[in-house]
């Protein structure tokens, strides 16, 4: 895959190095966003990066275009207002798994149901890494975290399927290891008019990797390679085997009208 040379325009180089740990996947996802924006050649003044709280919430500091830091989980509620008042603005919400699955679950569902013109990049690192590695709704069953020392007893939430059911126009999930897939998905999500959602499973070597004896950054990347399967292969597995793997790939691509289009149609009647 070729590199769009102007990707550096979207990164604030003076703010780097970033605060994320060595081997953390957040930087890979943010780079994926910058590469997709450079390839689509979207001007800086028509962009907004909205972030939530947590490790991924720092991403707004490292971009050179407008950024906005919302309260925990409520970023999509603010994005709704921004989208309605500034329809020309391309809104990218860079959220964590707590923002999407836990405290902001309701906002995510209803933003997807309304089909707002927002692109959501969910950084799913399977725990609350900034507060010390507590388990989150997306933590897989029987994982060790700082609040589940003997293994998590709850089943994990599949946010991608949830958003697809709620009515989003584009839903895909991938990992930071599969970078060409990641860059393609982010590009397609940005091109989609309506609600688009890309779940990026990211490595957290400091907490999730260490507690579950996966290892450091490179080992976690290898873990993603071995543990994830493309959606068509995953569907063929038996129910017991499915527990050992995580699916990745495109889930939904459809062409429903977005919120502002349907709203304007109703206003004209």
């Amino acid at each position: 895959m070729d590199i769009p040379v102007r990707y550096g325009d979207y990164i604030d180089w003076d703010q780097l190095p970033h605060l994320w740990c060595p081997g953390c996947g957040n930087g890979i996802a943010l780079k994926g966003v910058a590469l997709a924006l450079a390839e689509l050649n979207i001007p800086l003044h028509k962009l907004l990066l909205a972030t939530g709280i947590g490790c991924s919430g720092r991403a707004g500091n490292y971009v050179s275009f407008h950024s906005f830091d919302g309260t925990h989980g409520r970023t999509l509620a603010f994005c709704t207002g921004i989208n309605v008042t500034q329809p020309d603005l391309k809104i990218i919400a860079f959220l964590g798994d707590g923002d999407c699955g836990a405290i902001g679950g309701n906002h995510l569902l209803h933003a997807a149901r309304r089909n707002l013109n927002i692109t959501v990049i969910e950084i799913n690192n399977f725990n609350y890494a900034m507060t010390g590695g507590q388990f989150s709704p997306t933590t897989p069953l029987s994982s060790i975290t700082s609040t589940s020392r003997k293994g998590k007893a709850e089943y994990a939430m599949d946010t991608a399927s949830l958003v697809a059911e709620a009515g989003a126009n584009y839903v895909a999930s991938t990992t930071v290891y599969h970078t060409s897939q990641l860059n393609n998905f982010i590009k397609e999500a940005l091109l989609t008019r309506g609600f688009s959602f890309v779940e990026v499973m990211s490595s957290c070597p400091t907490y999730y990797g260490r507690y579950n004896h996966i290892g450091d950054g490179p080992e976690m990347m290898k873990w993603f390679k071995e543990k994830t399967l493309p959606r068509d292969k995953y569907e063929k597995l038996s129910l017991e085997e499915k527990q050992n793997y995580i699916e990745r790939g495109k889930l939904v691509q459809r062409n429903r009208e977005d919120f502002l289009t349907t709203y304007k149609k109703r206003r004209k009647k």
Binding site: I3, V5, P17, G23, I28, K31, G32
Partner: protein, 69 residues
């Protein structure tokens, strides 16, 4: 950007590198070797196949194009 086999097309900015070792262990052509402090060193630039995977997988924006962005 045209692909040139046998030439490593990137620079590694030491200011940004956090020495996580992802580029060293995941390069398919083994272009890098880890130094004493786990920092990547380009020791086999001729083996580079131009797959750009080290660039995409670097989480710290340290592997950059030679044309400064």
């Amino acid at each position: 950007m045209e692909k040139k086999k046998g030439k490593f097309p990137f620079i590694i900015e030491e200011r940004l590198c956090k020495k996580c070792g992802i580029c060293v262990s995941h390069c398919p052509a083994k272009v890098f070797t880890a130094g004493p402090g786990n920092e990547p060193r380009v020791t086999n630039p001729r083996k580079c196949t131009g797959c750009n995977l080290c660039f995409f997988r670097c989480p710290d924006f340290a592997i950059q194009l030679e044309v400064s962005p």
